[in-house]
């Protein structure tokens, strides 16, 4: 009986020790759902080239990532929005200075069902639709049908970015909000599915999620500018009006293993992976 207990105890201790020892060359990355696939691809390639190093990637949303960075439960936070002042203050209370690294760009696509006749909108019209001022498709040249607005949940960096840059048109003091009747869906995939099935729906997400079941809307800055499709070239040349930077945040200046990984991300190889996962690299 006692022998058994001791055996179990030893087994338990050795696993704990093994994990503790392993931690020395492992990196925990957490955050933006938009960036999970990208970071996963980086991690896989990086681990191929550096056997012995271990990189774990989990999602949860930009806010989740940053709060785990602050609480110390991850080494790198992925974020599709800038860190908030409130979060910097909280981090400093814990003795951490978040360090920002811009690693890629993302075009936000506004999507509808292919069955919807509307195929281009201005930023003003988009703001009108998502704040509820425009509630029928016929006001923007479509069928006489109520617009079903889809949005990500508030834990999504995409949600925050879209609100600040489209609804409030970059006005930091803006008071515009998503129309209360907007459906809050918990993932980009859920929005993609609902848009594919519902001809009156409109939603938004990162370019990478566009498939043949959705139609990306061409967007113009105002009614005098040209309508631009979300594509790699248009985001890179800054023609497409709704694109955003993607960031990694680390504790202070990255050092050691974390620096090695960040350097890899910013290298030519790392940036090629960015293109492969349908994002836009920061350098040509």
């Amino acid at each position: 009986m006692f022998k058994k207990a001791i055996f179990v105890l030893i087994l338990f201790l050795s696993t704990v020790l093994a994990f503790a020892a392993k931690n020395d060359n492992s990196i925990q990355i957490k955050g933006s759902d938009t960036m999970v696939n990208l970071a996963q691809a980086w991690a896989e390639k990086y681990m191929e080239e550096n056997p012995g190093d271990f990189v774990a990637v989990t999602g949860g949303g930009s806010g989740t990532g940053l709060s785990s960075l602050i609480s110390g439960s991850c080494d790198i936070a992925m974020s599709s929005r800038n860190i908030k002042d409130k979060e910097i203050v909280l981090a400093q209370q814990k003795g951490i200075t978040p360090f920002e690294i811009k690693v890629a760009l993302d075009g936000l696509a506004v999507v509808t069902s292919p069955a919807n006749p509307v195929s281009k909108l201005t930023l003003d019209q988009l703001a009108g639709i998502f704040t509820g001022k425009i509630s029928n498709w016929k006001e923007v040249g479509g069928k006489d049908e109520k617009i079903v607005v889809l949005s990500r949940e508030v834990n999504s960096g995409t949600h925050v970015y879209f609100k600040e840059h489209v609804l409030r048109n970059n006005n930091a003091n803006g008071k515009e909000e998503f129309v209360p009747s907007a459906l809050m869906l918990s993932s980009s995939q859920a929005i993609a599915d609902e848009v594919a099935a519902n001809s009156a729906a409109i939603g938004y997400y990162g370019m990478g999620y566009i498939s043949s079941k959705q139609k990306a809307i061409a967007v113009a800055k105002d009614d005098k500018s040209e309508y631009v499709n979300p594509s790699l070239e248009n985001v890179l040349s800054d023609k497409y009006p709704i694109s955003r930077p993607l960031f990694l945040y680390t504790h202070n200046q990255p050092q050691g293993l974390i620096k090695k990984f960040v350097d890899y991300v910013l290298s030519k190889e790392g940036q090629e992976i960015v293109i492969k996962t349908d994002f836009v690299p920061i350098k040509k």
Partner: protein, 287 residues
């Protein structure tokens, strides 16, 4: 040695018995500590009766009336669907069904209880939601009604098994007396058994409702989560539980949003506490 062992085991069981109460108290204290802080930022009346829920805006608008209404309408819908079916099912199992069918039905009901809610939510999303959309000609099928239907499935096992139990425990003499007076089977059930078992049936209903109001995953997947005060059951709603689940990950620890989510937890705790106590009162009335 033996006495010591006896004493030791007795005390151990005693501690285990107290543990659950201890945990409830701890949870309530923790909830209160975190949740009541929100009233530094917003008055209780504005919190409960406020009509806008924009937790991450500056300044944050923390009104949970749309969420309370959302939870209530989904629960009400589920109750309307599940109570008649559940009680009828209990009557059938307890009184009418032959022994073999009874066994099969009871096993089926238990299986229904064992299905994880996320699975029910997923099934609802791909089957029920499109149906609701086409049948009622709605702009979207992610509505309170879809949530109510799925939640009715979840409340049914609780209602059926407890109601069946209480019907079964009505003394045989009542039934025999009714038959002796020349009552038909239906008259016996309707006039004698149901009134005799009524306290147990009310308890069953209350516990079923308690299950529904606390359910999170399935409602989050199929009710659309729009924070508006619903005008009918055919519009998207956002429930208290789904709000906590969806937003806890984002909330900056120590922000008013974070405290507001804990305060929602208190509201939920109070609601289910009231429901459970009511159920308990009715259950004890029987004895």
């Amino acid at each position: 040695m033996r006495k010591f062992k006896e004493f030791f085991i007795e005390k151990l069981i005693f501690i285990c018995g107290l543990a659950s109460i201890f945990f409830v108290v701890l949870i309530f204290l923790f909830l209160s500590k975190e949740g009541l802080t929100v009233f530094k930022y917003v008055s209780p009346a504005n919190f409960i009766l406020g009509k806008s829920w924009y937790p991450i805006s500056e300044p944050a608008q923390l009104g949970i009336l749309p969420l309370i209404c959302g939870s209530l309408i989904v629960t009400l819908g589920a109750a309307i669907i599940s109570i008649p079916i559940g009680i009828a099912c209990a009557i059938y199992i307890a009184e009418i069904a032959p022994a073999k069918i009874k066994e099969v039905l009871k096993a089926g009901i238990e299986l229904l209880a064992a299905i994880p809610s996320v699975v029910l939510g997923f099934i609802g999303m791909v089957t029920l939601v499109p149906w609701v959309k086409t049948i009622f000609h709605l702009p979207t099928g992610l509505t309170a009604l879809s949530g109510s239907i799925i939640l009715a499935f979840m409340a049914m096992p609780t209602i059926v098994s407890i109601a069946e139990d209480s019907l079964y425990s009505v003394p045989k003499s009542y039934k025999e007396g009714a038959f002796a007076l020349g009552a038909t089977h239906w008259q016996t059930i309707y006039r004698v058994l149901l009134p005799a078992a009524s306290s147990g049936i009310v308890a069953a209903v209350m516990l079923g409702i308690g299950r529904v109001i606390g359910e999170t995953m399935a409602v989050m997947m199929i009710t659309g989560n729009a924070a508006v005060i619903p005008q009918s059951i055919l519009v998207p709603v956002r429930t208290l539980t789904a709000t906590i689940a969806a937003e806890m990950g984002e909330a900056v620890v120590g922000s008013e949003h974070y405290f507001a989510l804990f305060a929602i937890g208190i509201v939920l705790f109070v609601i289910s506490f009231i429901i459970n106590v009511t159920a308990d009162l009715f259950l004890h009335k029987r004895h």
